[in-house]
Assembly symmetry: C2
Homo-oligomer: 319 residues x 2
């Protein structure tokens, strides 16, 4: 099968590309390399089963060319920067909703039926139901990121209901693991590499968050690739959550450091931060998937990977 | 109060402009006249309290200029063409979501806090709960129109949650009444004016639909204009629904015609048509609003208005 992976040079994308190649699929990577990295594709440099196209999803004719001849699309490319949405308010809707429609239109043009889409638990805003199941109402978006992913989901639903495509929409918690380039673990490791004696934490550190190891994430995607569900929405996360303060303990222990910790205070790290994210993954687990990593293991493996790949600290998008 | 009404030359917009002027407000109309009509603003031609700006919401600098100095915004401009979404798939997301974000950004720039937004019962897709309350889940969009309005709602929610704006989101059923320019009543009257002996109906005519008279719609908007709700979502509709076949009976009786009626068949008129729309309006009624017109009265008054304004049959967007 020839699979188009948008954002295939990114954190999740490049891990997925490796898995697809190991499974015998051919892969076409589409990436604009705004946050994706050529280093993540390096291992597949002499791999004739991997094709890399550099370009932007907002360029419809490029997307149409890139979609010609593929069997399915895994659409991961996105502006994944939740926290800094208010610094560039139009980026989310353009890169997450308009770009997604370009992918859908290209699929329609070439009669490519199958799409897997990376949405987010952020679409639930601050859900009243925790753990949050897929059919929980989400009347109120709390971030531009969540709003734009919800918009993309709506577009995908409309195309699926019209019979144009067959879609799996995955709503992820935060993903950790090798090639991780943005989020609290890298922020904390970066702070501690500058000054191992202190750590500044946004909010009160009591925010309860869920994390999933990238291996578990891409295993779920691969499991659904050959299916034809019409339209399905699937939460992805572990059966547990942690406090940011727990994660800090695991990170500093792994680094062998005992910094003094200061909290900026408040129950949110930033405008639109969600103080409690925990998704109900019963539906995906009933399809034969189960996460292999605990949150602690995922955090520790992420710390190890950053330690072994210090170059990422200078190239990543860090506070 | 100076109120900016986007889409102020349209069906609902121009009726609202008249109401606002009668209530003593100054009005700035923003319209690109793609479906809005200068005839609908004619009565206010020598009215110094009404300013008309011609331009497009996709032009951010224009929207920013138009928003300077206003006290509140009623954002009605939209691509309201549900049925023909698949003929121009990018129009919905551009004109309903991207355009809405331009309005929000212009408000942020000028610190304009209050917005009223016209969303739609279509965001519920095919709801499992009927009558459908505001907090019903809507995981599946069935039309590009619904998806794009849901996207706009998400953006508005995110801006409201961030404290940038205070928003009332109204989810309308189909609106009828004077200056109505698109939908089944004008389609049927147009068909019968070409050939009074026969009428072709999309679907089996048993689709159950809700309609609201434009006077009742704008009364609800006016009632909330001076409020500062933070964020509220309010359904608007009557306490009843009808079948398309009921409406056909009222229309033909009003015209004094007895055409032979042919149905194209199926429970939907077109891809994404919703066979049963009925909204729970308890929330808006608890705020002191009540619709004055029955659906039959709204249909009949619409027929009368079209009869008295036959010019609309040549300029409207009719099947």
């Amino acid at each position: 099968m020839l699979v188009l992976v948008t954002g295939g040079a990114g954190f999740i994308g490049s891990n997925l590309v490796d898995l697809l190649r190991r499974s015998g699929h051919s892969v076409r990577v589409l990436d604009n390399f705004s946050t994706g990295k050529r280093e993540f594709l390096a291992r597949t440099g002499d791999d004739t089963g991997t094709e890399v196209l550099e370009g932007d999803l907002l360029d419809l004719s490029f997307v149409e060319r890139a979609t010609a001849g593929v069997d399915s699309v895994i659409h991961l490319a996105a502006n994944a920067d939740v926290r800094f949405g208010w610094s560039h308010p139009r980026r989310d809707i353009e890169q997450n909703a308009v770009a997604t429609q370009n992918v859908l239109e290209a699929m329609r043009l070439h009669s490519v039926r199958r799409i897997i889409f990376s949405s987010t638990g952020s679409v639930y805003g601050q859900s009243q139901t925790i753990p949050t199941p897929e059919n929980a109402p989400f009347p109120t978006q709390t971030s531009l990121y969540g709003a734009s992913k919800s918009a993309a989901e709506g577009l995908i639903s409309a195309y699926a209901e019209a019979g144009v495509i067959s879609a799996s929409i995955f709503r992820f918690v935060s993903i950790l693991g090798p090639r991780y380039t943005h989020g609290h673990v890298i922020d904390f490791v970066a702070q501690l590499s500058r000054d191992p004696s202190k750590l500044r934490v946004l909010g009160d550190g009591q925010q309860r968050k869920s994390y999933l190891h990238v291996s578990d994430c891409i295993a779920a995607i691969a499991l659904r690739l050959n299916e034809d569900p019409g339209l399905e929405v699937l939460n992805l996360g572990t059966d547990e959550y942690c406090q940011v303060n727990d994660s800090i303990g695991w990170i500093t222990a792994r680094l062998g450091l005992s910094p003094s910790i200061s909290h900026t205070g408040g129950d949110r790290g930033w405008v639109g931060d969600n103080p409690f994210i925990f998704l109900d993954t019963t539906k995906m687990q009933s399809l034969g998937w189960k996460p292999a990593y605990t949150i602690r293991q995922a955090v520790e493996e992420t710390v190890d990977w950053i330690q072994e790949n210090q170059w990422i600290l200078s190239s990543a998008n860090i506070d």
